[in-house]
């Protein structure tokens, strides 16, 4: 994103702030015991878990802040939080 004088931004430009860099732990969606229930998508406060064409879910690491709610709530214990390496 090139800077605009006066910090001016058109609607939707908050997407330019990729908050994924804030993460300390990242959720790894293993897709092993997953039942495709979609609870991860429901509880994600960032709205960055999305359903794929095959019905499994993946987080968008550009915006996932690594809060771990999806891993905590996953009934199938299919999401693992692993330390981020930068």
């Amino acid at each position: 994103m090139a800077l605009n004088i006066g910090c001016a931004a058109a609607p939707g430009r908050a997407r330019d702030n990729k908050t994924g860099s804030w993460r300390v732990f990242k959720p790894v969606f293993k897709h092993e015991t997953c039942t495709k229930c979609g609870l991860c998508e429901t509880v994600c406060p960032e709205g960055c878990v999305k359903e794929r064409a095959d019905g499994y879910f993946d987080p968008d690491y550009d915006y996932c802040k690594g809060c771990g709610l999806c891993a905590d709530e996953c009934p199938a214990d299919d999401i693992e939080m692993v330390q981020e390496e930068k």
Binding site: L3, N4, I5, G6, C7, S21
Partner: protein, 384 residues
């Protein structure tokens, strides 16, 4: 036309001629007469502006920020505690690059409560991203408003500006002031062309959130604009001089500096007293001169270095103090001439409106010659 006007009324006339579309301010001594006069002009249809009455200075500058973002030329005025209350908004105005012009009727900050003049208020906002110009007399205070609007609104600058003039010493003093005609000012200062305008038909946010990935670059951009403002100011100052015959194009201005051993450095109305004192001392054979700093932000380091290159010592008269350090002007002058070997001596003077006389300037010249400085001048040790 030449008129005998109170400083505040001269400034109000200047503001009227600049055709601000929105004025918002909260009255506070010694700024009151300016906004009182402007309110009368709006009520009497002599100024076609929206005058927004507010309950505090925080609201005043916030209203100005919104009005400026909506595309209006905007004016405010304040001082001391009022400016302190605007602190947060000042940084927002600069970051959002809104070219608001605000008059500061310089006054001391409490506690203890004091309504008289020093320059602590605006100096304390030096890092806010506002340009700061200091007037020596009421003619200069008047004219600086025309120049400042033009510099601030230059799309190569786009920064807010404070026109600072000393409370009571100038605001409440009657002097002959040449007030230009509306036609002359219209020819000099074209209508405001905003860079970004808030418009419901073309939605946009200003002052957006910036993560650590972007924040520093925004600050850098303001800093760069401030540096560009130097050239813009000089250019507009020259243009003003050509049209009106009064030259304020110097970011600094020397007075009898050519062969001076001791150079005073001062800002604002004090310069007049110092010039008179210099004339008397020169008559007695003392080689003294003055460097008046007109622009404190942007700070003209190169111009100061050049102007002071031939002197043996510099005596800075600071109407402010960075508590725990020295006066702010002395620190910056010292930085500007670092490595030159010239002594910079600081004198904290006239805080809270204490009078400065020509005889005081002579005493300080004597102290400077002996290398005695970096002290409060005229401190009443008997009450300590």
């Amino acid at each position: 036309m030449m008129e005998i006007l109170e400083g505040s009324h001269a400034v109000a006339e200047a503001v009227r001629l600049c055709r601000p579309q929105v004025v918002s301010a909260y009255p506070i001594t010694p700024q009151t007469h300016i906004v009182e006069a402007l309110a009368s002009m709006v009520a009497d249809c002599k100024l076609d502006a929206e005058y927004i009455c507010v309950e505090s200075e925080f609201s005043a500058l916030s209203a100005c920020l919104g009005a400026s973002a909506a595309g209006s030329r905007v004016y405010s005025a304040t001082t001391s505690q009022g400016l302190a209350l605007m602190f947060e908004v000042c940084f927002n105005v600069a970051g959002m690059r809104q070219p608001i012009v605000m008059t500061i009727a310089n006054r001391a900050l409490g506690a203890p409560l004091n309504i008289w003049n020093d320059q602590q208020d605006s100096i304390s906002l030096r890092d806010s991203g506002w340009m700061q110009f200091y007037a020596e007399d009421n003619q200069e205070a008047t004219d600086l408003h025309f120049i400042t609007y033009k510099v601030a609104e230059d799309h190569n600058v786009l920064l807010p500006a404070m026109v600072c003039f000393d409370g009571f010493i100038l605001t409440h003093t009657y002097e002959p002031v040449d007030i230009p005609t509306q036609e002359e000012i219209d020819a000099f200062l074209p209508p405001f062309k905003p860079y970004n305008t808030l418009d419901a038909k073309k939605p946009m946010s200003l002052g957006m959130y910036a993560t650590p990935d972007y924040y520093m670059e925004f600050r850098y951009e303001v800093d760069e604009a401030m540096k560009r403002a130097k050239q813009a100011y000089v250019q507009v100052g020259k243009e003003f001089a050509e049209k009106f015959g009064r030259d304020y194009s110097g970011l600094v201005e020397g007075y009898r500096l050519e062969d001076a051993d001791t150079a005073f450095v001062a800002m604002g109305s004090l310069c007049g007293t110092v010039k008179d004192a210099i004339d008397e001392m020169r008559a007695d054979g003392m080689k003294v001169g003055l460097l008046k700093i007109r622009s404190f932000r942007p700070f003209p380091s190169a111009e100061i270095r050049k102007a002071l290159s031939g002197v043996s010592r510099v005596a800075v008269l600071d109407k402010n103090v960075s508590l725990g350090q020295k006066g702010a002007v002395a620190l910056e002058v010292k930085d500007a001439i670092y490595g030159s070997g010239i002594d910079v001596l600081d004198y904290i003077i006239a805080l809270g409106g204490r009078d400065v006389r020509k005889s005081d300037i002579r005493v300080i010249a004597g102290l400077a010659e002996k290398g005695i400085g970096d002290q409060y001048y005229g401190l009443r040790t008997e009450v300590l």
